[in-house]
Amino acid sequence: MGYHQKPQNLSKNLQQDLLLPSVLVLRSPSVPSFFFSKSHLQAHFHLLDPLDSPEPTHSFLSRHAASVLALLCVASTRVSSETLSLLPSLKLVVATSAGLDHIDLGECRRRGIAVTSAGQVFTEDVADFAVGLLVDVLRRVSASEGYVRARLWAEKGPSPLGAKLGGNRVGIVGLGRIGSEVAKRLIAFGCSIAYCSRKEKPSVPYPYYPTVSELATNSDALILCCSLTKETHHIINKGVMEALGKEGVIINIGRGALIDEKELVKFLEQGQIRGAGLDVYENEPHMSQELFAMENVVLAPHAAVYTLESFAALQELVVGNLKAFFSNKPLLTPAQLE
């Protein structure tokens, strides 16, 4: 049997060693299973998965992963500098999300490790979700549905009136790809758009405000589309909510910690803002129980990206990035490492 013949008589594991590149999979058991399509990946790569072993991850990595070149980081599983230090040969981290705050990007940059993100696979779904939440809050879609399901329509007559969407001044916090797609959709509903961002974007037709507070003062609804960083932590605080005012609505499809959740609950309880649509929370899956009783709030379980279509696209992208890496071709969705 020569080296270049298909070694059919060998065990499956050995076949894989000889034929397929190895990819280390890091996934916390609590992350959603949709992000990791084992069968899809096994068709192309030999997977090293610490969760398949009785060993603790730390020791598995020390023993098995010294020569691993590529790491698949599933969902929000943390990839710290400590983890990276156990992988001396690592050259690529493939993430399955657009946000990368769970990966030590600084350490990756220092070590020359490339990182790929989910690129734009989720963008449209997240934008759709943000719009869905805004329409739901203003038009009381979930609240009215609850009214019907509680048999109140027959018993009490019409449900309370909602608020018109058209004419609303929508302030987008973070006008990246998601923010731009949200803006494009809401314009068709007759909303006007303004934004704040780290830097003004001269090519964009919407008015710019340098701070979230000024944006809030001039908006009826704020839609949070920015990433979570040290600067944006609790960017929606008491001052911003006061500036937004009693008729204001906040939609959060970014990260829970963008909002001071305790303050938000106070403002909602006191009727100091009109309502909120939340897909993310500071301490998922837990949240202030007071929210459960509020009719002017729509709650979602961090589901803005969860569609069949986008997850199919994600699997293609993950395989595509890994294949590009192993064949020395340009990565499909490389992240900028600041």
Binding site: E124, F129, G132, D136
Partner: protein, 313 residues
């Protein structure tokens, strides 16, 4: 004008009631215990009827009011008014077009998003306290889905404009093709249904459009298809719709209207792919006020012998 009798068919809006009372002698039909006796007593003073999507002026009522001059509907739909009888007797009819177009179209899209992305269901799920991180199901993407519109009037066009912003290809069925419109036309609802993912009812209810969404149309739409009804309940053959949903022959439905409001078929409550709303297409503070102002404006114009604002007949 305080002596002019105006009969309001059912409760619809307290601002409207208040404003009508200021100007006319308002009769609230729903508070009358014995309707035929009431009509016999007051028939000579009632010169106007104000109706809505639930109750208007049928042949019987029109016959009972010999001094009736105008029926003003607090709706754009006219299915509760016997238009032929009004024409025959020279009774004017007005409705509330345009002011509610945006709200109804907004809600149609809101229903599409709520059905496909399971917004209401996931809201209930989170409130139940059962959410464990990452355990919610995958839903259906909305962007790019083919939207088929039955009736490309004001509301249909407004739905199309919004859906286009989500990159949805638009097609439509209408009594006649509109050559100036760039959307794809299908000469029958069945063909439209066979070629779209989301079928929206946005036409007026007439004898021709009764049960326009029937078994054949539902079959053509198929197990991944979604019906959105922001028209009138009778546009859809409700028992057929319910069995299709229960048997999973239809993918989902977003319903703002039902055949026998406020009754909702019990079977629908057990499904996770439907969104059920209590006829709120135009139910915003702003729009209901605009509709009320239009009703008042039409009545005032009529009794001052001025041109009606939004006449239908």
């Amino acid at each position: 004008m305080e002596s002019i009798g105006v009969l309001m068919a059912c409760p619809m809006n307290s601002y409207l009631e208040h404003e009508l009372e200021k100007r006319f002698n308002l009769f609230r039909f729903w508070t009358v215990p014995e309707k035929s006796a009431f009509l016999a007593t007051n028939k000579n003073s009632i010169r106007a009827v104000v109706g809505n999507s639930s109750a208007g002026a049928d042949a019987e009522l029109i016959e009972a009011l010999p001094k009736l001059e105008i029926v003003a509907s607090f709706s754009v739909g006219l299915d509760k008014i016997d238009l032929a009888k009004c024409k025959e007797k020279g009774i004017r009819v007005t409705n509330t077009p345009d002011v509610l177009t945006d709200d109804v179209a907004d809600l149609a899209i809101g229903l599409m998003l709520a059905v496909l992305r399971k917004l209401c269901e996931s809201d209930r799920y989170v409130r139940s306290g059962k959410w464990k991180k990452g355990d919610y199901k995958l839903t259906t993407k909305f962007t790019g889905k083919r939207v088929g519109i039955i009736g490309l009037g004001r509301i249909g066009m407004a739905v199309a404009k919004r859906a286009e912003a989500f990159s949805c290809p638009i097609s439509y069925y209408s009594r006649t093709e509109k050559p100036e419109i760039k959307y794809k036309y299908y000469p029958s609802v069945v063909e439209l249904a066979a070629n779209c993912d989301i079928l929206v009812v946005a036409c007026l209810l007439t004898e021709e459009t009764l049960h326009i969404v029937n078994r054949e149309v539902i079959d053509a739409l198929g197990p991944k298809g979604v019906v959105i009804n922001v028209g009138r309940g009778p546009h859809v053959d409700e028992p057929e719709l319910v069995s299709a949903l229960v048997e999973r022959r239809l993918g989902g439905a977003g319903l703002d209207v039902f055949e026998h409001e406020p009754e909702v078929p019990e079977e629908l409550f057990g499904l996770d792919n439907v969104v059920l709303l209590p006829h709120v297409g135009s139910a915003t503070v702003e729009t209901r006020q605009a509709m009320a102002d239009l009703v008042i404006g039409n009545l005032e114009a009529h009794f001052l012998n001025k041109p009606l604002l939004t006449p239908v007949v």
